[in-house]
């Protein structure tokens, strides 16, 4: 029963129904990409998985039910959600940002070195408050924090937004390497379909709250 199983997922904001019964799976060490028009419910799906939005249906990660738990409980089960905006603590320094949620003190130094291997830019601003970084750098910091936590399932909401083209390659190379080395399952919501599909094992197209199409790598 390993991996993520989602069936009949429904969610609404007040009277506006957004998800109308979504079914999807992410297998062990797989990367799934969600594409689709704006407002199709992609972001709401991630929020439902990470507990930010109340939803109905059944969602299990390695057999453990996720729905109904508070976001911090889901996060402690190894599900890390990098939202579209935010993801960093502005007044805290970059080092402190990375420290929050990362593994215990002993591993922290080694983890940092490992992360700087992929994102050297973070090392340059280590003692700077995160609020003073550029939008792109803050994005990298947010994702860096996620990678540092070695999550079981990583939810990335438009990771490329606000990144310079050159940085896109760096980011995806890192994500790909981590997926291969750590076996982290990932769901990535991304409009730059071309770059995302290069590393994805599955891709779902989400339209008006339902899964419209599923393509897996071995069937292209």
């Amino acid at each position: 029963m390993s991996g993520l199983r989602v069936s009949g997922l429904r969610a609404e904001y007040g009277a506006a129904r957004v998800l109308h019964g979504v079914d999807l799976e992410v297998g062990e060490a797989e990367i799934a990409v969600l594409t689709g028009p704006n407002g199709a419910g992609k972001t709401t799906l991630l929020r439902a998985l990470s507990g930010l939005v109340r939803a109905r249906g059944t969602v299990t990660l390695d057999g453990v039910r996720l729905l109904g738990r508070r976001p911090e409980e889901i996060a402690r089960l190894g599900v890390w959600h990098v939202t579209q905006e935010g993801g960093t603590f502005a007044p805290l320094t970059v080092r402190e940002n990375l420290r929050v949620g990362a593994r215990s003190g002993r591993h922290f130094a080694a983890d940092l070195e490992w992360l700087f291997g992929y994102f050297p830019v973070l090392q340059a601003h280590l003692s700077q408050p995160a609020g003073t970084l550029s939008g792109g750098e803050q994005r990298l910091l947010a994702i860096g924090r996620a990678l540092l936590a070695r999550p079981r399932l990583l939810l990335l909401d438009e990771p490329l937004r606000g990144l310079a083209p050159r940085a896109e390659g760096v980011l995806f190379q890192a994500i790909h390497a981590i997926n291969r080395h750590e076996g982290t399952m990932m769901i990535i919501v991304e409009h730059h379909v071309a770059t995302a599909l290069r590393i994805a094992h599955r891709s779902y197209v989400v339209e008006s709250g339902k899964i419209a199409d599923l393509r897996t790598r071995w069937r292209w």
Binding site: G14, A15, G51, L52, V53, R54, P71
Partner: protein
């Protein structure tokens, strides 16, 4: 401003902003009922009860104004006790020191507090909600000592006694004052109803729900908020003038921060963003101390504190919300 709320719960905003909760079922009939009662009561109520009812109407006008800032614009003001005081003193000083006929003191009080509201509102509204509370807090705290300092004009710490308006048309004094206050209250309600349905009213609601989105739609927050703040200060000032006519005595220590807190409690207990709210809030704020004192002198504090906490937890929509829900429940069960 408050921490993350997992789900979304809509504030009672009225139909304009897509509030789908059932509206008051019999709008016409209940209005007529209230109007007729308001006219008959002064003749059937004993005079001291009438005096209490007049005070309720005076507070209603002040709460209508405060609701414009707290309910419709979602901002916290701690200064409306001070605007109430300025209105009361403007009227009292004009009558007692300069012998101005009392009806003329009403526009004077309105103008004074509108200007004060605009002056205090203009800078404060550029700041985030919390800071508006701080600026109005400062105004409320500074007013009593300031009034005492201008002793020559305001009678200082001794306060001012103001002769009550004489009854005309054969009514005795407190009935005549009651009808004066009733007329102004009706005008206040009409003004607020008109505003709620108008463009500025909707702009305020938009600004409260999502300031950034509203500004992208071209709603200039500063002007709308400042105008709303000035109008609400004027309502409080007008209520102050009515208070002077009713009570006949003003002293600096009756318009302290405590009055601002009482008004704030009243508007929340009554129900934010509704027209019935201020009336119910005024009743609650005046009835609780009177009723609670029967049990024990320290009771008013305990009872009003508990009531406030209860309202915030059990009925965030206030008494108006409760009333609406119970009546709608009855209707649905019957229909």
């Amino acid at each position: 401003m408050n921490a993350v709320a997992a789900g979304h719960r809509r504030l009672p905003v009225g139909h304009e902003a897509g509030d789908r909760r059932p509206d008051w079922p019999w709008r016409r009939t209940s209005l007529a009922l209230v109007a007729s009662a308001a006219v008959v009561l002064p003749f059937t109520l004993p005079p001291y009860r009438l005096f209490q009812l007049t005070l309720v109407l005076v507070y209603t006008v002040a709460l209508l104004g405060l609701d414009l800032v707290v309910g419709r614009s979602g901002r916290l003001s701690l200064g409306h006790g001070a605007f109430f005081g300025v209105g009361a003193y403007t009227s009292a000083v004009l009558i007692a020191q300069f012998g101005v006929p009392y009806p003329l003191t009403m526009p004077a009080a309105a103008l004074a507090t509108f200007g004060l509201g605009w002056a205090a509102g203009r800078p404060a509204l550029r700041l985030r909600g919390l800071y508006l509370a701080m600026v109005t807090f400062a105004v409320a705290v500074v007013l009593p000592p300031l009034l005492k300092r201008l002793a020559g004009l305001t009678g200082g710490a001794m306060g001012l006694t103001v002769p009550a308006p004489e009854g005309l048309l054969g009514l005795d004094d407190d009935q005549w004052v009651y009808f004066l206050v009733l007329m102004v209250t009706a005008a206040a309600f009409a003004g607020m109803r008109g505003l709620a349905g108008s463009r500025p009213g909707r702009a305020l609601t938009a600004l409260r729900e999502h300031p950034a989105a509203a500004e992208t739609l071209g709603i200039r927050a500063a002007t709308h908020m400042t105008a709303a703040f000035a109008w609400s200060a004027m309502y409080a000032g007008v209520a102050g003038a009515l208070y002077t006519w009713t009570a006949g005595f003003v002293s600096p220590d009756s318009f302290t921060l405590a009055l601002s807190i009482t008004l704030l409690a009243g508007v929340v207990i009554g129900g934010l963003g509704t027209l019935a709210g201020p009336v119910l809030g005024a009743f609650a704020v005046l009835a609780v101390p009177a009723v609670a004192q029967e049990f024990d002198p320290a009771a008013p504090g305990i009872v009003s504190g508990l009531l406030l906490l209860l309202i915030v937890y059990v009925a965030p929509a206030g008494l108006a919300g409760l009333l609406r829900r119970t009546l709608w429940g009855l209707l649905r069960r019957r229909a």
